[in-house]
Symmetry: C4
Subunit: 459 residues, 4 copies
């Protein structure tokens, strides 16, 4: 059995150990492969990292991705200081905490809109969790478009219509739902609540709302689908799988297999992230944490150079940098082998369409749904909002809407019932919401239920 | 005779009594029928509710709507604590009150515009009253449109015209008025002043201005019309009745009967409220009050579920929720039986037209006036302002203006004389104002007179 | 000789005396004729009003307008308290005054733009003076247009042109000036400085800039023209007379006579003020002062009623209210008798044209210049800016610009040299500035010179 | 050897001496020729001015421009107080300085965008240096256009493209660079760092980025080119010379000679500054400093008059004012003698084109590149942004882009990678950035490298 002191000696780039759940791991060689970057690992080099690791990684991640010979075995828990979870924003202030601030039933009773849910979540979420959910690309142009463009569309209320019987239920990609909106895929609900995606699955199933689970969930996909099907009263089945196409085809195939195995009813392929967006608030938080932790090592910091990658080389023969965990080569022809792997286990949608031209291409390639999205403004600065893309389609490729060969989904800035009405009037089949549901998870199952109720209040 | 202690035992949903004007009432079964919702009743369960009840309900309301067997008889006034009226916003602050702040002649002398009147009223109104008047639907989009759109229209001042003799008097729906604006219907003037609608009736009659009284007045409609006709100097008669078409036809017919009996000269039917808008500020105030009162009961709160309604069922056989007190089935054909009940007692106007198409339909259905309104932005988020609808009519159905078969009214954000001029230039017969007059009521009869003078200053 | 105590007894509407320059006057009957309203007189009833009277009225005003029998003779100056001039905004604060704040050479040296001059003036002007100059009509819509519209026009800089020799001098209405701007007429420069209009005349003459003197100057027009001609070095003569057409033709004729006698070279007739605009800030200041002075009399205040006027009656036989001191009947035909009275003593311009249609009419009526202006935003809410009117003329009546039969002036929001360039490029002959020069007067002759230099810096 | 006391006696306009690097100079006659104006010299009259002089002037400036007989010889350094460099903005506050605030590696590690670099620089730069770099003309209209217009253009992201191999390197005016942006010319990098332009040259050369050096550099142009070529690894050569055409042709010819001698590869002639813009913040700073220094002399200040110039006279025979150090006569024909002097030592570009018409003229005159720029908003208020000019060219002279006879550069407000993408998509060959690199110089060589990395992060 190792001691904390022994581990503490391996705290450099040339020999880096960390403790997770009372076990030590040698991550020296893994540093450059870590999807979250080497810095965060180095920050915990020689120390316990459990509190940081847990909410981000699905169970079994380290066992799966780290070679067995790097598993160094148990560490005596009395010989090291356990890591602390990051503080919440309100803790941060150092002010004495009003316990009412975290009384969840009280918080929920005051949530009259999704904006209220976001504000409530800010009181509950850890600072890095809130920043991770809230951050967006570059100068926040696309995020702003998402928020602004809904206001540019106004409703024209007709009067004196019999509206006694309203039915908002419908069929989305063959699945029955009670409302024309669903939960958009978003990574790492575990940052918000220990039950993470399970809360979303339970809430969606109970309320008859669709849920598209992220590739990058904090729970194994089988657990999430189980939570959904145990709560749907046998009635609702709009549980879909969001697929990131990875750099390594094996990873992608593994994900498709998990989707099939978990009983997911549709495959929603994200097409807008050949590289990961530069989310400055998120990077800033990490830079600040690093600056604090590594304050002493500034002077000997190596010259900045891009991490080298997978052997590809540019015209000058220089090695090409690694571009992130998602595939940078993914293109229309790849739909072939993905379809093959999916074996017609359900419809396929493309998420992240941002131009009318690509919408038309998607139809041509025979997908079942196009999902207009700028990835919550997290990828490309100044990208158009999805409602803008929908207007573009209406204007330049109206047949996409009229022919009804594909269903049309969209997300981005949907916060009010009126936004949903606008999208449906303009041709969308349904809309989806990401961040608001992530925030609602901070208040557990009831938070998710409340968020759904806030969107379908008058029904 | 009951004692306060006895009443106090009935403070739950399963047995709920309240005291009003020294009498106890059993409202247990009435809870779910209460148009203002069950929460407010539960908040005063087992207690005196007089100070809350009085300013909102016309005299005799409880006697009329609560079955006689629920009237439990007098309570000994020495055995319970009377309820306090809600504090005003300035009381709220806890600061020592400058008595000048509430010196009404002084306040009035400083009111140079309707904005000043609103600010003065904020010092006098109770917090819930101000919030009730000021609140609007959802994200306040329609309210904002009302305020903004006037600025988008500018005047083109012609010069060197002899303007020595100006006459603004005219005939509206056959009634003589001195100015091209009238008091718009708005519910519950009793929240602002103990004389409520009577102040409005007196001020309007004295100054020769029209007044359209709300269905939901704090005084019986007969009292209001009496106050009007006693003060009009025999000259002005533009007293109209605003009609909400209720869920139950009997209620509607009763209202029409009251209009005829009270000598109201026109029927102004509101067509824009098949459900009541979600006015978040108002709901938030109530949620906050509830959260305080019911703090202890959070843990045992029942799961949220929509209130069930009148027996209608959806396609799945589930009961349809009650959609509020106004009719959700009201449509063009209903004009038939309303006209019949009204027996040609005067012209009919439709209030709440928000599209040129509906304006044209209204003409086709033979009404005497269309009243463009988005209900002060209280119904539908992002609804167009009425001036926007007027521009739409000018562009797409100009004959509605040119043929002069219907009079055209509008309200929403009118605050300046220049706004009135703009509306008239663009084809309106007259405009109306709601909130400013509700605020003026806080300063009694003289407040109403001042508000009218502020709108016709140079005459 | 009267005593202060005697005068102090006449402090009511039924008997109102005031002391000015140690003489008592009975203004009881004059109250309702006072162009500045009765309230201000009543405020000083029974007291000394010299400090208030002096900066506003040209010398000899009271002698001229008050009947001789109301002149009650000298008051013993030891028997009453002299009135204090109103405090400046900075005095108001009660903070200890930094004497540097009022060091005029220092202030001037820091004035790099006209905005700086305004800020400096705020430190020097009395509160009512600043408010009087700064205030504008109603909701400040027209004032805002004046400020905003310049930004909507951008310059297109051509490069590689020889700009070594630039000459901005030109001839305006036959008068030679060094720069394409002049000082716009504005009332009551005496509020800003004891030498008032004399400072403007001296500065304009020295710097070769035109000056259009207001009808409502604080000095006799002869004194002002003398100050101009004594300082022009025999070179510049653009001294013009702004004419308000008064209710009473005799007053107008008197003004024209003064213009001829004073050697004014052109007559600039204001056409945009048949009634005086509602300048709320100004009215608010007066209402606040009244509220303080008359605090005790609120209870017995008479019911509000419009002041009755000159015998005209409306269709109902009610007397028409007096509409202010300017003529409300002034129209195109009146140009006849005005021309006759002016006897071709120089060109005639119409100031206050706000539409292309009226511009065309002005040309038709043979005036020599049109002066586009919305009166500094002080008359009509939401009036177009003058640059907007110029664009309108370019578009709909381009011949007005092309034919060059009339000169075109404009004012309103001109603050930067670039504004002048924009106006000239679009067809204006020259521009003028009002408020900035009034502010500059607060710093005396040198202030005016500095303001002129700030507008022609690179020459 | 002179003493400080002796020098101190010459502290007036009629006899003005200053000490620089322990030597005294008589600048009395030079006062009016000093390009930076007389005021700054008078401020240090009789005193040491070294700390002010050094960062602004290339070595040897005073030796070169002041006649030898004005060199008064060495001053005993123990007899006068050396001048202090101006404080930084943070020093200014008087607060105790957190040393971390100036820890450059730490600051750099937190710089995630060019905005961060600006903020970091504010902590390091002296107040006048920051103001000098940041200031812009007049009401900042053009500066605002530069910032705003990028937002008006949005990207239309296409998806599912293989983006594995991205190569941003290209050839600009025949020089090889790794990225489609270069360092724009900006004066006086010495204000930011003692190595000034040398930092820019080293950083650009190392990173393979182009650098266009200003005529008005703080180092001799030979030193700068040496720093570039010593660091380029033999691979990159995009080192260009920005040419201000001076009032005196000799100065211009000298500059061209320096460009040739220093091995500069292209001549970039600035065409937008026949007079120097009125940069109010900069002037205000100087006015405030003067007001403090010269406080006592206000009373005897001479009347303001424009400085007289070079003998030219206007139509009235008055001497024309000097219009600044740049030529006011520079026009298209001057390209002849400039080309001749340059002797085809490389391509020629015109910097400061702001209209499509002038872009077309430039092509006609055979230049190799047009460089759209409004001089960082420092010259002409309300000038169009360069991206606006590019759009104008696309619309009205598309052949300029299509024919590819000229390369097209632009600067102004480029802060994000997305801005560069927008410019390239619309037809630009490359963009450049000025202020961000000046700010980066405050952090030395590494600052420049970091700024370059921030602009090419994903490569």
């Amino acid at each position: 059995m190792l001691s904390g002191a022994e581990v503490a000696q391996h705290k450099t780039r040339s020999s880096c150990w960390v403790i997770i759940n009372s076990k030590a791991y040698n991550v020296t060689e893994y540093l450059d492969r870590h999807p979250g970057g080497a810095t965060i690992l180095l920050q915990y080099a020689g120390q316990d990292a459990t509190a940081i690791y847990e909410p981000i990684h699905p169970k079994g991640t380290i066992e799966r991705f780290l070679e067995p010979d790097k598993h160094l075995g148990p560490v005596d828990p009395t010989t090291y200081t356990p890591s602390n979870p990051p503080k919440s924003e309100s803790d941060q202030d150092g002010e004495p905490q009003d316990p009412d601030l975290r009384n969840i039933p009280r918080l929920l009773s005051l949530c009259l809109s999704l904006h209220d849910i976001e504000r409530a979540a800010q009181k509950l979420l850890s600072r890095p969790a809130y920043i991770y959910y809230a951050s967006a690309a570059d100068a926040l142009g696309a995020l702003q478009n998402n928020a602004d463009d809904w206001r540019k569309i106004t409703l024209r209320p007709r009067v004196m219509r019999n509206v006694r019987r309203i039915d908002t239920s419908r069929t989305l990609l063959g699945c029955r739902v009670k409302h024309p909106f669903f939960i958009a895929p978003a990574a790492r609900a575990g940052l918000a609540h220990e039950d993470g995606e399970l809360c979303l699955a339970r809430g969606a199933a109970r309320m008859g709302v669709g849920y598209c689970v992220s590739s990058v969930a904090s729970f194994p996909h089988g657990d999430i689908s189980r939570a959904f099907y145990e709560n749907n009263g046998g009635k609702y089945d709009a549980l879909w799988f969001q697929l990131y196409v990875a750099n390594e085809r094996a990873v992608t195939l593994e994900r498709i297999a998990a989707a099939k195995e978990g009983g997911y009813k549709a495959l929603v392929i994200t097409v807008d992230s050949p590289v990961i967006g530069k989310r400055e608030d998120d990077e800033r938080y990490r830079a600040e944490v690093s600056a604090e932790s590594l304050a002493s090592s500034f002077s000997q910091e190596p010259p900045l150079s891009p991490p080298t990658g997978d052997g590809a080389r540019n015209d000058e023969g220089d090695p090409l940098p690694l571009r992130g965990v998602h595939s940078s080569t993914f293109n229309w022809d790849d739909l072939g082998w993905i379809r093959e792997a999916w074996q017609n286990s359900g419809p396929i949608a493309l998420k992240g369409i941002q131009t009318a031209e690509d919408a038309a291409l998607a139809v041509e390639y025979g997908v079942n749904a196009i999902y207009l999205s700028n990835h919550g403004g997290r990828q490309c600065d100044d990208a158009p909002s999805s409602i803008q893309t929908l207007l573009e389609i209406r204007r330049f490729y109206p047949w996409i809407i009229e022919d009804r060969k594909v269903e049309i989904y969209l997300d981005g800035g949907v916060r009010r019932g009126a936004d949903i009405v606008k999208a449906l009037c303009l041709g969308a089949t349904a809309v989806s919401l990401g961040r608001p549901f992530m925030y609602s998870v901070a208040m557990g199952n009831e938070g998710v239920v409340r968020a759904i109720q806030r969107k379908c209040r008058n029904v």
